[in-house]
Amino acid sequence: MIERRDDELSRIYRDAEGPRPAQRVDDNILAASQRVAGARGRPAGIRFARRWGTPVALAATVLVTFTLALMVFERQSGLEATAPEARRTDRQAKVLPAEPRADQPGTPSPLVLRPIAPAPPISQALQRDPVGQGPGESTVSRGGLGTGQPAFVPEVPRASVVFRKREEAKPALAPPVADAQSAPELRQQARPMQAPAAAPAAGALSESGATLQGSGVTAAIADRLAVSEAKERTPEKWLEDIRKLRTEGKATEVERELAEFRKRYPDYILPEDLR
């Protein structure tokens, strides 16, 4: 159905002066249209960044964290793989510096037995030892033992050093003075430490030297266990341990423990039998 236009009317209608919208109306409409088109037509890069910026940042953070964790883990694994056996020996030496009789009936396990003694010398040795020291270096040659401090401490990796310093910052958890009797033993153990530095061939490593090289992470963990155990030990339990030592006839140990106890708990009134 097509209705023909009335051409005559159409001609007259078209002769009419054409009204126009105001310029501001044109401007408003065109500005709005461009604004909307601009919002839609943003560069692909900006749109991509807006859409993926946050997920990518999160993924990058996770990746970096994971990589760092992996690196630390690998480093620790590498240290452990260097001398696992020696480390174990070292662990025992550190936990039981003066009494290596862990298999004696009625004797607690090495970790439980005397965890406190090694901690202060380690901390003190670390204080003298710069944080940036490499794992193969030794403070022994720099006079670590000359002061009567244990020589095996400086081999702890950097992370452990930091941890240890943090531990030191806490209130004294263990007596700060090293046992005079254990010092010669420690000196003996530490002496071979210089060998790896001079001749790093695996065969040339003595047990103690290897211990010093590979003990880092495990030693740090064990030390922490010892320290925290000392922290947990109540005065009563401590005194009980001292009594046991006395029963076993370890007079020197008893004296040392009592001295440590007095330092740790100066206000504690000792029982009659231990005065």
């Binding site: 007259i12 009204p19 044109d26 409409i29 249209s33 909307v36």
Partner: protein, 185 residues
């Protein structure tokens, strides 16, 4: 080079091409504005409706699909906007289909007066005055035909009535306008 169709321009605008919208706007702004102005008879109201109409076009850019001519679509929007305006102002004076047809039968055929054929300015004045006297629906049909160049079917679609109703309105409007311009034949 072939000029882009209205539909192509609108689709391009939907994809962010602001220049396409501007071309579309330049092409249709005067007919649409005249259509609205002659329907409402007030410049401010016409501009308000005109701006609102184009904003609807802008906001519909993402949903636009080529189902009909762009002109049919945009004049349908204009029609709906006018209906809103009429309702808001108590001006719902559209004739029903039956009324327009019954009135149409009574209209005599009219010849445009010879003096008006020569004096175009006066003819225009008379025509526009008569246009203002027409019922809204008939005026709308006539304006749609003149400004948008839509067919009767398209006018019917744009105004939401049947083709017969659109045709009746259109014929009635033309008869009345001719009557205002001339002498009875």
């Amino acid at each position: 080079m072939r000029e882009a169709s209205d539909e192509e321009l609108m689709l391009r605008y939907g994809k962010g091409d602001a220049a396409a919208f501007e071309a579309l706007y330049r092409r249709h702004r005067l007919p649409l504005y005249r259509f609205l102005l002659r329907q409402v008879g007030n410049k401010d109201t016409a501009e308000e409706l005109f701006q609102d109409l184009w904003m609807r076009v802008v906001n519909s850019r993402g949903r636009y699909e080529v189902r009909a001519k762009f002109t049919s679509w945009v004049y349908a929007i204009a029609h709906n906007r006018l209906m809103d305006f009429y309702r808001a102002n108590g001006r719902a004076s559209f004739l029903s289909h039956e009324e327009s047809e019954s009135v149409l039968e009574d209209l005599p055929a009219v010849e445009i007066a010879a003096d008006l054929r020569l004096d175009r300015k006066r003819a225009v004045e008379r025509l526009l005055a008569a246009l203002g006297e027409l019922p809204d629906a008939q005026r709308e049909a006539f304006l749609l035909q003149q400004e948008s160049e839509l067919s009767v079917e398209e006018i019917a679609a744009a105004t939401g009535v049947g083709p017969e109703t659109a045709k009746s309105r259109l014929r009635y409007a033309v008869a009345k306008l001719r009557a205002s311009l001339g002498k009875k034949s």
